[in-house]
Structures are given as C-alpha cells and as structure tokens.
Subunit: 526 residues, 2 copies
Amino acid sequence: MDGRNIIGRKKSGNDSGVLPVFSPGLQRTLEGSFNIATPEEVDEALALATEAAKIYGQLPPARIAAFLRAIADEIMALGDSLIQRAMQESALPQGRLEGERGRTVNQLKLFADHVEEGSWAEATIDRANPERKPFPKADIRKMLRPIGPVVVFTASNFPLAFSTAGGDTASALAAGCPVIVKAHESHLGTNALVALAIQTAAEATGMPDGVFSSLNGTGPGLGQQLVKHPLTKAIAFTGSHGAGKAIFDTAGQRDIPIPVFAEMGSINPVLLLEDALKTRGTELAQQLADSVTLGVGQFCTNPGLLIGVSGDSLNRFVEALGEAIKQKTPGIMLNQGICENFVKHKKLVVQQEGVQPYARAGQSPESNQGQPSVARVNGADFIKNTTVKMEVFGPFTLVVECADSEEMAQAIESLPGQLTGTVMGEATDFSAAVSIIESLQSKVGRILFNGVPTGVEVCHAMHHGGPYPATTDARFTSVGTDAIKRFGRPLCYQNCPEALLPEALKNNNPLGIWRVVDGKRTKESL
Amino acid sequence: MDGRNIIGRKKSGNDSGVLPVFSPGLQRTLEGSFNIATPEEVDEALALATEAAKIYGQLPPARIAAFLRAIADEIMALGDSLIQRAMQESALPQGRLEGERGRTVNQLKLFADHVEEGSWAEATIDRANPERKPFPKADIRKMLRPIGPVVVFTASNFPLAFSTAGGDTASALAAGCPVIVKAHESHLGTNALVALAIQTAAEATGMPDGVFSSLNGTGPGLGQQLVKHPLTKAIAFTGSHGAGKAIFDTAGQRDIPIPVFAEMGSINPVLLLEDALKTRGTELAQQLADSVTLGVGQFCTNPGLLIGVSGDSLNRFVEALGEAIKQKTPGIMLNQGICENFVKHKKLVVQQEGVQPYARAGQSPESNQGQPSVARVNGADFIKNTTVKMEVFGPFTLVVECADSEEMAQAIESLPGQLTGTVMGEATDFSAAVSIIESLQSKVGRILFNGVPTGVEVCHAMHHGGPYPATTDARFTSVGTDAIKRFGRPLCYQNCPEALLPEALKNNNPLGIWRVVDGKRTKESL
C-alpha cells in the first residue's frame, strides 16, 4: 500500500507526518501510512492542474471520453483487492461495495457517453443580419466552457461512488476540468488504489500532467488550504452539515468567490397520508424500517422524519414500525466519529420537549455499532423546535403525530430545505393534499411518491440537490448527467472567425450535437 | 407624479420621509417627491410576493406571456411623458431613450415568446423499467421551477432597459417569480411611471396581488433590508463594483444563502493586433473613440483598455485616437455622483506610476459633464499595478503599450475578470495570437472580433456576464433569453402520479415543448 500523494504523473511524500487508517470493523489500524500533503504539494498540484486545464479543456470530447472509460477499466482491473480494502476501511458489506463499484464504473461510462454526445455544452447560435435596421446584427454564439481546476472532497459513506472516482470527479473531468481530490481520512487506502487507477488511465490515454491529483490530509488542514487556494475554481463536497458549512464559509472569505457545491444531508420527510396508512400501514412500516436501516442508515437520503395525522391508522403504523425496528440488528458504522455523532445527535433529539423514544433494535450495539431506533413527537412540539429537525446520521427516524392536516401543513412549512420529500398516498388521498404536496415541493430537490428516498438513480432526470441547508446551491445536482453543468460557464463569441471557433460552434456542426440556432433546436449545419 | 411605493395592488406612502430627484441637465429638483419605504412596507411587499409566488409560479405559460405583453403595451401607452421624464432624470437624449424603450418592450415580448415556447424549463424524463435487475427503475422526471420572490436593483445607466421593467424584471417574471424592484434614486419618476404600468398590466391580466412591487429608498437603507430579508429568494443587480460588492457581502451573511446576480462592470480590454493596426489603425482609432464616448461612456461594456505592441503602427493609432478624442465633446453624466466618481477615478488612474494623460476633448466640461479623455502607460507599469486596472465609469480609455507580444500576454494574464474582451485583428494576425486569445477568453464572458463591445444584443446566444469581479456568478447571463435560467431551480418528481405532474412533464407533452426523454431530445408524447 503506497500512501504517497499523487500529484499529476508523480508520487509525492514529504516528511510532514502521516495519517493511519483505523478499521471500524476489525478494530485495528490497517496496513499503510499516508503522507500528509504539505502546502508546497498543494501549490504544486494546483499549479499543474491550472496548466493542464489549458490543454485538457480543449481536448475533443472523444479523448475525454476515452480517459473516463480507461478509468473505469483500471478500477475494474484492481479486482478484489479494492473491494477488500474498502470493506476493511468502511465496514460496508462486500455486496454493497461491489454494487457501488458497478455504479462508479457505470457512472464514468455514462459521462463518457454524455460528453461524446456533446449536447450538454448548450451550443447556441444567433446568425448575423447585416441588413438589420437601425443597426446590423452581429453573429453571436455561445457554449459552456470548463471553469478550471475543481477540488473534490470525498465522502465517508460512499468510498467509491461519491469519492475518488465518484460522481463529482467524473462530472468535473467530463466537463474538461482537472480534479484535485482530498482523500477521506476514513478510507485512505481505497482512495490510494483508485487514485492510482486514475493516474494510470491518464498516462495511458495521454492526458496532460496534472489533470488529476490526490492529496492526503485533514479537513481543517488540507481541506481549508484547498478551499482558500487562489487557483481553485470550484469545490464539490458531500458530507456533514458541519464540514460543508465550514467549507462554504471559508470560500465566502476568498478574494475571488468560486462556486461551492456542498451536499450536506437532510432528514427527508415522508408524508403518511390517511388512505395509504389505512390500506397498507403495516406494509409501509416495513418498507420504511428497511429504508431507515439500509446501510446502517448512513445515506443522505435516509428517511429521518415520518409525518402523519394522529388516529387509529397512524397508531397501527407506529406500532408496526416499532415491531419492524425491533427486529433489525445494530450494524458497524463507517467510522468512530460517525458512530459517536449518531449517539450524541440521537440523544439530543430525544431530549427535546415532547420527544419520546419509542422502539429500538432488540440487540444491544457493540463497539462502533449503530442501534436502529425510532422516536415520536406531536406536531406542536415538532413545529416550534429547531433542534428536533437536525439530521441524525444513522439508523434513526422520528414520527411526527399531527393533530390534523392543518398542523401537518405547518410541520412541512417549518422544515428547512431538504434533498427529498416523500408522499405515501392513495389516489384518494391526493385531492385533499394538494396544498401540502405543493408546500413539500417548495422544500425539496426531489419529491417521491410511494417509494423510499434511499437509492438515487444515476440518470438524466435525477436531481440530487435541494434548497439550503440540504445543499449550498439548489440550482445544481451532484448525481446524474446534469452534474456536469456545475463545471461549465458560458462563453460567448461575437463575429468570431470560423477557424477560431470551438468545434461545437462551427458552421458545419462537426460534432453533430443539438444546438439552438436562431431560437430553434437543430442538429443541422448552418 | 405620484411618488408612493407600489405594493401589489395598492399604493403606499407612510410618513417616513421622501426622496427628491435632481435633474443633472436642468440642474434643478424635479416635480415629485417619493415616499421612502418603511421596514413594514418592505415586509408587506415580501409577504405578498411570497403568497403570490404560490399562484403565479403555477400559471400556464400563456398567462405569464400575456402579462409580459400587457406590460409592454402599458409602457408604450405612457407615450412621450415617459421619455420626457427619463430625459430630465438621466440627461440621456431622446433618441437614445426611445431606442431603449424599444429594447425594453421587445425584451418583454421576447421573454413572452420564450416562456410560451416553454423549452427553457429543461424538462427531462427517464422512464420506469420495472423489469430492471437487480432493482427496478423508477419513473424520474425533472424541470426548472421558479425560485420565488426576486429583488431587482435598477441601474442608473439604463433607466428603462435595465430598470423597473428591464431584463431582470422581465426574466424573473417570465420564470414565474414575483418581483420587488428597488427604484434607482436617479430616476424615481421614470420608475414610478413604469411601475404603475406594470401594476396596471398585472390587474388587467388577473395576476395575483403581490406579483410586483416597487419601493423607494436608498441603497444602504432599503437596499440592505431587501438583501437581508428572509423571504427574498434571489437578487439581481447591475451597477458599480462598490454597490454590487456591498450587496454580495451582505447576502453572504444571511442565515440562508441566496443567489446574487450582480453585474458590476468591467474595463473591457481590446487587443490591437499588428496587422490590424497596420491596415486600418486610423479607422480603428475612430471606431474605438466612438465606442468609448458613446452615451458619455456610461456603459458597462465601454472599452476602457486598449492593448497593443509598441511600434510605428501603434504610435499612429494612438495619434489618431488622440485626434478623434479631441474632436469629441463633453456630455452631461447620469447624476452628480457618477460625474464626481468619473473625475476622481480618472485622476486616480492617471496618478499611477507610468500613466500619462495623452489627449482629451477640446471643449472644457461644464457642471455634471464628463470630458472624454485617453491616457497611456507601458506594459510593465500596467502589469504590476492593480489600481490602474480599475473601472473608470465614463468616457475614458487607457492605451497599454507593450514591449512585445509576450508582455501583451502578461498584461492579459494580469487582468481581473471582465464582461468582454475584443480582438482587433486581420486573418494574418490570428495564428501568432492563438495563446493570447485563449488567455483573453479565460478572463471574459464574451469575446468579440473586429467590433466594439458596446451594444449588447438581446438574443438567445448572448452572454452578458463574466468571471468575478465582472459579476458575482459567471455561470449566468443578465441579457438574452437565458437570463431566465437564473430564476429557476430543478425539481425532480419520482413516480409522480400523472395528475400531479406539471404540464411540462405530463406524458402527452401538452405544451409541445422540447424534452429529453431517456437521453434523447424530442417533442414526442410518451
């Protein structure tokens, strides 16, 4: 296990201390020590990335696509050693990590296809009209161009799919931006393996030196340096509210502001409408208990809030939910800090006025394990309290029992921004719930019907985002092909000679992409 | 002249002081006194707008389009009284203001067409696949939805086209967002007339109460209140760096961050390449002198920086430019503050090391007049100095004489972000200038060839924006149809019952818009 930083084409480890990795499952330090990047190494990575951007940002889409596919191949070539290391570092089971690897590799290939298809760049052309009165009209064209080096913070809960070669890296590279990864301290070995795969792929496909770097360090140390660095052009982050907010605030003090795409989690309210509770309350209870405890509850889309109107149906649901949760078993969490925070935050929520612990998994948790549990609170106590609305990252959910549908509406109105909101309802429920559903829409990035929010499909129509504090920029998604749009800015060309135009804007449309020409969508040449 | 605030359907003037308007041309206070909005009136306007958003944001595109067209009609119905008042308040000539009115009205109609066409909402659909293994695929759809009440700061230099019913208001209303305008203190009467036109149009087309309000007050007073207000969902601003930065910084302290679209001006570098100087230096000098002095230089796209390589060609150009500037006459500026700043900032730039005043208009300026002038500096003195790169808002430009093309490249590299960059070059110039042109592109939102940056076409392909400090968000434009995208955020619907889907996402595509379905662009029904 080579624990050096990867800076462009080289490996770099200065005598500035190392980080170990502790396995939450094995309860011991794992093989490998990881060199902490020095400020000089940070400078070097950013300087290389800035130079690389000038070449990489101009490469034909097919070259970028080949690079992304080569990364996918190199990750697969790591074989079982990657899965084994990730298992040791995250305590996630083999099947889950193999699935996550599949997602990661498919995501890279999806972005390869997307960038090769090319229409994402929003090429738009308004042709000249020299005869126009009172002034002739110029030839004006625009498209999205890459914004430059992107710093990617990797996530603890997805060591592959939201990490070194995850969605942020894939979409930034697809957009034509070099990437500097800040390795997550929980899975430095997994990071090192994947970073090496990317480095190998970059060399094999002839990418410019510095198109990718991977640095080891702490959030307050390395993370802050990367956020403040004048050559950093954008930041992508998935993680806790605390860490995301620290990044956002530091970025806010930069001389030159940059976009910060921080996905900071959510409690993902679920509305339990009356007829759904009546018809299939027990089924819903099981479905939600499964979702709450999936992956030891360590998903940003974990349904942490279940809201219904008091009555027999809700009582039966709560009872069934309690039974289902009791049957669940504690699971090892991603790292010690996450487990400690789970216990601490759950305790804090349960201490709030009117909150009652209701049920928990029968088996007691061992070291580093999270115990599935559920609590309940009435609508009035929920609405007036901010703390009770905090995310408890882990297998926990809170049932809010509202006096009536009006109080339910107020409970929704009192929520901060969320990644998702779910409506469990029968066709007969919806007409009475129109305004509540609209209110829920105004709070979320994705609204689901009769499903669970965990499981975020990687596709064109996905929006994994949402109003603050779910993210720092509700206008962009971190999952799905549109994630690429975070890393482009429009550049407009007026009366530009054909020879100097980028391919996407040339008269004969050599890339064969969809363009808007004089207001009409077309693939035709001019 | 009714100087009360407009708050939804009513007029409102509390006993909290009034603002007068001083005419820079007539040198006297004009008829009308304008009630300063109280904090209670601010609250009322935002609360009404928030309620209005729930209705307005759901209206069919045709209704919104009808509202925008009615505003255009009401503005035209104001007739000459609007032009006369704007002339008195801005000292801009009649022809210019009539042209600006035409632009304003056409812009409203363009957005009406754009919102009616409907494809701007980026409707995207991925269909379900219940057979997929290992997990069935859900039905996922998304589109842009309006973000809620938008505060629009009006601009001094475009009393119509970038003001009360200007591009920001038109694009926000088109997106389905209510608007609260902060009237500009320089043209409160013009604002009052146009605001009344909007109010009338809103009533005539049955828009919800609060879809539009217009408030009078100062930047530090009213402006800051609007930026801090918890119900404000986005801010659009065009003006000086100082005012824009103050808004951006205040917004940065909000509990819940919101997008701030501040266009803060620029010095708009022009590269004078050798063969162009040789072939048509005199012509270029005249063209640029005209652009620098157009509208007394009061455009954010004013070419304030002309960069060439020292030599005979550049010398002849500078001489011709000096002659052309001498022939220009001083003009009355928009207001006293702008004129004072013009004098102050010009003086500051000219005091910098190595900067030499070169030529100025023969006629001396009278009160409130700006005197066209040009200065020169060598490349080395320019590169090392930040102050010399500040915007001098008015009829001023600085010629940078570089030792060679390498120094020219360094001069470009030393620039902060810009709205525009212009290349004056012959076909024979370009091959040697490729890297300089690429460097210029990285600094600007729009690159022009052999034209002048003043005159921003309102069209689909326009990008009026650019890297900070030209704007606070380089990813969005304030001119052209894509300005609407500033005011939408994606909302994703998963397994949403057909009846609850917005029209744009329904199976049979009732709006007939372009959508991306399973990754393919189409207007077909599902």
